[in-house]
């Protein structure tokens, strides 16, 4: 098993865990945590493909990951703010009870 395959395996595992968390958790904050996990799996993929790719000197993977982490931070802030707003409105963070987007 090459180091690349090992990394990809870890990242796939991480993504699957994140997806399972985001899909199954009733609590909105935990679902957000799951999403963050999936994002980090993607970041790990970037790093792995850069490190074991044909041109590891260019630092391009590192840059994309730093961007991605910054965006994830901003996204987490927005997500938490939304959850707080929803909580203020519905007095709950249970995702099953938030069905107003239904057509």
């Amino acid at each position: 098993m090459t180091p690349l395959q090992g990394c990809l395996l870890v990242s796939a595992l991480l993504f699957a865990i994140g997806l399972a968390g985001a899909v199954t958790r009733r609590n909105a904050i935990l679902a957000l945590v799951g999403i963050e996990l999936m994002l980090n799996a993607a970041n790990l993929n970037f790093i792995a493909f850069w490190r074991y790719g044909p041109n590891p000197e260019a630092l391009s993977g590192m840059m994309v990951v730093i961007f991605s982490i910054a965006i994830a931070a901003a996204e987490a802030a927005v997500g938490l703010a939304l959850i707080i707003a929803i909580y203020r409105h519905y007095r709950t963070v249970n995702l099953d009870e938030m069905r107003n987007l239904k057509g």
Binding site: A22, V23, A31, L95, D96, M98, R99, N100, K102, G103
Partner: protein, 713 residues
């Protein structure tokens, strides 16, 4: 431009304003109504006098004195319509006559109508009438003339039907309105044609382009229309048709006797003195149009035997004798006078035809005074005899009503043309003299003479029956008093206010004073137009009139005067011999003529059956046409409309059916399916984010599996 010519419009506007104010005042305000009406007439009369004296002052300056003023009314296309008035001798003399006679009759009415509950309405109509009539007189424009002319007709209608609770009055009002309307149609057509020919409706203009002035007349006289008739003649005849309707000339005279259903002052003012004379005045006004004739291709002249004037003369002459003969056999005091009016109007028309404006107008003026006098006198008689109009039920009134009798006798002598001292003699003599000199035919002259004989005869008959002998009213009054009292009261609303005293009595001063004044004029007016001093003729024609006694004996004038005197004496004598000397004793006794000539008397009594002939021809035809129209309207046109309705309704039903059961059904089904589909789809859209995410995850897995499986093959 004199002040009065500029402000001539004030004369008709004053009574108009009075009429307007009275119209909005309350029914109780009798004093206000009478004061306003009479006051406005006094002012109008003073202004008329002013106008008259102005024309007198300018008389004989150069030609006919004529001043025109007015304003533009409205514009259509490039043409302006004007409201114009003219001051010339014809206008001036008519103004004075109309306003003076109106004034006297207004005063008389204040007494005559004193007990009528609609006193204010009466004065409103009277004032409106006076305004319209004065408007007719001053108009310098055929359009303004026509407007006022129709207003005059309207007020005539309103006043004939004043006692509208009497069905006969309503019928008479309708008859008058419709009959005159037939004539007015001719007038309107003539007016339109005149406008088409000359492009103007102004009689006279300051620059000589009016339709009665040289250039327009020349164009019309040289322009021939159907049957070789000059356009001027054709237009003249159409206009004369209007005059015939208003002045009660032969085929259209039927309304005038029936118009006596109105109150007596109305008969005096409108249906004797002024309105019916408007037709004569119209002919006099458009006389240049009537008399113009082509001399050569470039020149026109005036003659008294153009086609139009021949028609005027013949109609006038026939009407004169025709109506006079009917008057012989009538028994209603007002109807006798009405037929006499028709006959005298015929004389005026004949005078216009044979002798020109001055001859006809002179008789118009004198007739206005003595006929107003006679009508007011008859009103006084009727008033005194408790609303009795049948001469057979009068008699001996000379003793009861001396003032009325004296005035009436003067009026009667003037109408009969009693020699020398009465105006009717001079004016009728003028007409006969002109008729004798007429180059076309002498028949109108003989007809006129016969008419004069009949006039003297029937007037004597009337006076003998009314004023001489014994009073025959009381006996029959007593017989009727119980049975017909209620009916009579309802017929004459103001009859009930008398205490039931059978004796006739003299009328109050408010009624007799106008009689006396009119009687004075009935005598005096004759002297302004004697052959020795033809002032009236000169006044209208703008020539100075000399005083010349020799003219009395010249050219057969004296002979004619003698002839006419003999005719009058014969008529009066015959009347006295038949009716005065041997008075009828009872009401039912047949007339002397009826005993002598029953067939002729029956014919005359029934007015030559003209009404019956009209009933059998024109009216039956009209009724038939109306029925045909009704049938067409009800069944043919109505049926078509009904058919269209049915077709539309059927189509509508069909559309509704297809709409409900074909279109709607399909649409509903489609909608239902769509909604169900939507429902189905919307259940997928549950709003649960995690469900969506789950779907995405499954889809991702499937995608990956698909990619892996694709790589392998």
């Amino acid at each position: 431009m004199t002040w009065i010519a500029q402000n001539l419009w004030l004369i008709p506007v004053l009574p108009l304003v009075a009429a307007g104010v009275i119209a909005v005042s309350k029914q109780r305000q009798r004093k206000l109504a009478a004061t306003l009406a009479i006051g406005s007439m006094v002012l109008a009369f003073l202004l008329s006098l002013c106008a008259f004296s102005t024309t007198l002052l300018h008389h004989g300056d150069h030609g006919v004195f004529r001043e025109i003023a007015g304003f533009n009314w409205f514009q259509f296309g490039g043409q302006w319509l004007h409201i114009d008035w003219v001051l010339d001798p014809l206008t001036a003399i008519m103004l004075v006559m109309v306003s003076f006679v109106s004034l006297l009759i207004f005063i008389f009415s204040a007494g005559y109508m004193a007990h009528d509950e609609n006193f204010t309405r009466f004065f409103c109509f009277l004032s409106l009438f006076a305004a319209a009539m004065l408007g007719v007189v001053i108009a310098n424009n055929l359009l303004l003339f026509f407007i006022c002319w129709e207003l005059v007709g309207l007020t005539s209608y309103l006043l004939i039907g004043f006692w509208y609770h009497k069905p006969s009055a309503v019928a008479a009002a309708k008859k008058a309105f419709i009959t005159t309307r037939i004539g007015d149609l001719g007038l309107l057509l003539g007016m339109v044609w005149l406008y088409a020919e000359t492009g103007t409706l102004n009689f006279y203009t300051t620059n000589g382009l009016g339709c009665l002035e040289q250039s327009a007349l020349a164009a019309m006289a040289t322009h021939l229309t159907a049957a070789g008739m000059a356009v001027s003649t054709a237009i003249g005849l159409l206009i004369f048709l209007g005059a015939m309707g208003k002045s009660g000339q032969l085929p259209l005279h039927v309304w005038l006797p029936d118009a006596m259903e109105g109150p007596t002052p109305v008969s005096a003012l409108i249906h004797a003195a002024t309105m019916v004379a408007a037709g004569v005045f119209l002919v006099a006004r458009v006389y240049p149009l009537m008399s113009v004739t082509m001399v050569s291709w470039h020149d026109v002249g005036y003659s008294n035997h153009t086609g139009a004037l021949q028609v005027v003369t013949w109609i006038g002459a026939i009407t004169a004798i025709f109506a006079a003969s009917i008057a012989v056999a009538q028994t209603d005091i007002k109807r006798i006078l009405a037929y006499s009016t028709v006959s005298q109007l015929g004389y005026m028309m004949m005078g216009l035809g044979v002798g020109g404006v001055a001859v006809g107008m002179f008789h118009l003026i004198t007739h206005a005074f003595f006929k107003a006098l006679l009508f007011l006198g008859s009103g006084s008689v009727i008033h005194g005899c408790h609303e009795e109009q049948d001469v057979r039920k009068m008699g001996g009134l000379r003793k009861f009503m001396p003032v009325t009798f004296a005035a009436y006798a003067i009026g009667m002598l003037a109408l009969a043309g009693f020699p020398l001292f009465f105006s009717g003699f001079w004016s009728k003599d003028e007409i006969l003299r002109a008729a004798r000199g007429w180059p076309v035919s002498h028949v109108p002259f003989y007809l006129g003479c016969a008419g004069a004989l009949l006039t003297a005869f029937y007037m004597m008959r009337q006076v003998a029956l009314v004023f001489f002998g014994q009073y025959r009213g009381s006996a029959c009054e007593e017989a009727r008093i119980s049975s017909a009292e209620m009916e009579r009261k309802s017929e004459h609303p103001h009859a009930g206010s008398y205490e039931e005293n059978d004796e006739p009595r003299e009328s109050p001063a408010v009624m007799t004073v106008p009689l006396v004044i009119l009687a004075g004029f009935a005598i005096l007016l004759g002297f302004i137009g004697t052959p020795a001093w033809p002032w009236f003729d000169g006044f209208l024609n703008g020539e100075p009139a000399g005083f010349n006694f020799n003219k009395l004996t010249e050219g057969g004038t004296l002979g004619l005067m003698l002839t006419s005197a003999v005719i009058v004496f014969t008529g009066v004598g015959l009347g006295w011999w038949l009716y005065g000397k041997r008075q009828r004793k009872t009401v039912e006794e047949p007339d002397v003529l009826q005993v002598a000539q029953p067939a002729v008397f029956r014919l005359l009594e029934n007015k030559y059956f003209v009404d019956e002939i009209y009933e059998a021809t024109v009216i039956r035809f009209n009724a038939g046409a109306a029925r045909a129209c009704d049938f067409l309207d009800r069944w043919i046109w109505g049926g078509m409309v009904l058919l269209v309705t049915w077709v539309t309704l059927g189509l509508a039903r069909f559309y509704r059916f297809t709409d409900e059961f074909v279109v709607n059904l399909g649409f509903d089904t489609g909608c239902e399916a769509l909604r169900e589909g939507g429902d189905e789809l919307s259940s997928w859209h549950s709003g649960r984010v995690q469900t969506y995410l789950r779907v995405i995850g499954v889809a991702l897995v499937v995608l990956i599996l698909f990619l892996i499986w694709g790589r392998k093959t």
